[in-house]
């Protein structure tokens, strides 16, 4: 299974998560978001880039509790809570935000 973008073929698993995180770029993100019928605002991009940075630093996708804690630390409580994240990503930060950011499914996510 793969996404087709600009003549490139980008492999994904059966749930739509990228197989190779290195193949991600913003165009890939836009395409996954489109498939999820989710238009991306600046607020979405903020979370997506935060997840990319987290992954680069720790080599895992954070569990939601850890994500909200880390977001609070960096951007304040208004942006580091479940409600805010679910408003941006209705299917959940794990299922949608990580997928759009090209990350694997979060560790510790049942």
């Amino acid at each position: 299974m793969s996404y087709q973008i600009g003549g490139k073929s980008i492999e994904h698993d059966e749930e739509g998560y990228l197989v190779d995180i290195g193949q991600w770029d913003e165009d890939v993100a836009k395409m996954i978001a489109e498939a999820e019928k989710l238009p991306l605002s600046d607020e979405h991009w903020e979370v997506i880039h935060f997840l990319r940075e987290y992954y680069t630093e720790y080599q895992i996708a954070p569990a939601i509790r850890v994500l909200t804690k880390a977001l609070t630390k960096k951007m304040g409580e208004a942006k580091g809570n479940n409600k805010y994240l679910y408003e941006l990503f209705p299917y959940g930060p794990a299922k949608q935000a990580c997928k759009i950011a090209g990350l694997p499914k979060p560790t510790g996510c049942v």
Binding site: Y58, P62, V66, T107, G108
Partner: protein
């Protein structure tokens, strides 16, 4: 339900220790234990991690497993704090036998002697070793 109310209202928090004894790469044990630890962090238990024998290499700085086509999951140990796991121990003797000191490690850990670690293990409800 009456059967449940017979138990104490608070679910008992158990003391868990994950014991790592193997080198980080070459087998899947280190990575699997690490994932188990991260998952267990979600269940609000009293989690401890210990590194001994060749397991001390798991938290050594400057690993480059890319040449083995492996992910550098040593970086993930630095995420433990964010997961609320702060009770991390390394056995002094194992570390010294391998020429390592606390400065060689990727995360701050508590250096603990063999006997003391044994006593700590004794105080756990569950010890998982790999």
């Amino acid at each position: 339900m009456s059967a449940e109310s017979d138990n104490s209202a608070e679910p008992k928090v158990k003391r868990f220790m994950y014991v790592n004894r193997k080198a980080p790469h070459g087998t899947v044990y280190a990575l699997e234990v690490l994932e188990m630890v991260l998952i267990s962090a979600m269940f609000e238990q009293d989690v401890h991690i210990a590194f001994l024998d060749d397991g001390v290499f798991q938290v050594k700085k400057g690993q480059n497993p890319a040449v083995l086509e492996m992910k550098d999951f040593s970086k993930t140990y630095r995420a433990l704090e964010g997961y609320g796991i702060e009770k991390v121990f390394i056995e002094k003797e194992s570390m010294e036998e391998r020429g390592l000191s606390a400065d060689d490690l990727i995360i701050p850990v508590e250096v603990i002697g063999r006997e003391e670690l044994g006593a700590l293990m004794e105080s756990m409800d569950v010890v998982l070793s790999a």
